[in-house]
Amino acid sequence: MRIVIDILLLVGIFFTAVGVLGVNRMPDVFGRLQASTCIATLGTISVSLAGILYAVSEGMGASAVIKLILILVLVLATNPISNHALCKAAYKMGIKPAKELVIDDYKEDDPE
């Protein structure tokens, strides 16, 4: 059990490091938002899974397990909304992408 938890923690640290590196290296806002999704998905999922495994195997009580599951569900439910809002806001603000977009349907159609 301990080895499984260690592997999960290592996976979480690795993908969080990838996300942090991406946020610092990417040239424009959209790339940074894409890279920060790595932190929200595997960085948080693996930490929560490791915590759930540990709490179950150590018998920390049901409330700790429930709280860990709630943290996981809340992060998975709320993070895409904030990413979507930021991406749309950055586009509406008129931030130019670092490279020319290959295809831009949003500007042609321009809903609402």
Partner: protein, 177 residues
């Protein structure tokens, strides 16, 4: 689609908040449960109209919730891990050349409700490499997702939709109409 009555909206939001309260406090002492009822009623009265727009009791279906959990564990996790690995490959490469683009992807015709649409949009956003920017509906009633895609490999819209959300949308379409 008719609008639900005000009481149904209130009751649905109230049940949701109260279940959340019970899970969070994890005790059935009388005083805590009473406070939970009061606070949930207040919150539901204020915020119910923002949360639910049609079919108030759509979420309280155990089969649907179990299928949602199966979808997240079985299908979604695999997609997320694949997308994370390709994102890691992109970030750790020294050149970092990618071709970004915003593409209009047609949605599946069977998913019509707000619950299904938002679930698909959230799934697209949570896989690294794609972010849903907007969901629009045209005059014929078809839905479109505007997706910012960091590595455009396919500029044809139907095929791009298949690449971006093919498996996930088929799975959601079976349960969440």
């Amino acid at each position: 689609m008719q609008k639900p009555s005000k009481f149904a909206v209130w009751l649905s939001t109230f049940l949701f908040c109260f279940l959340f309260w019970l899970l969070l406090t994890w005790s059935v002492a009388l005083r805590e449960v009473l406070w939970g009822v009061v606070i949930s009623a207040l919150v539901a009265a204020f915020s119910g109209r923002f949360l639910i727009h049609h079919e108030a009791f759509y979420l309280y279906n155990p089969v649907r919730l179990i299928m949602l959990a199966v979808y997240y564990v079985g299908i979604f996790l695999v997609e997320v891990i694949k997308a994370n690995l390709s994102m890691a490959k992109l970030v750790l490469s020294s050149k970092m050349d990618y071709k970004a683009g915003i593409i209009r992807v047609p949605g599946s015709p069977e998913i019509k409700s707000e619950y299904g649409l938002s679930l698909v949009a959230n799934s697209i956003t949570l896989t690294p490499g794609t972010i849903t920017m907007d969901v629009a509906e045209d005059e014929k009633g078809d839905n479109y997702y505007y997706v910012h895609w960091i590595d455009v490999t396919e500029t044809d819209r139907e095929k791009a939709g298949e690449v971006i959300k093919g498996r996930m949308e088929r799975w959601i379409g079976r349960i969440w109409k």
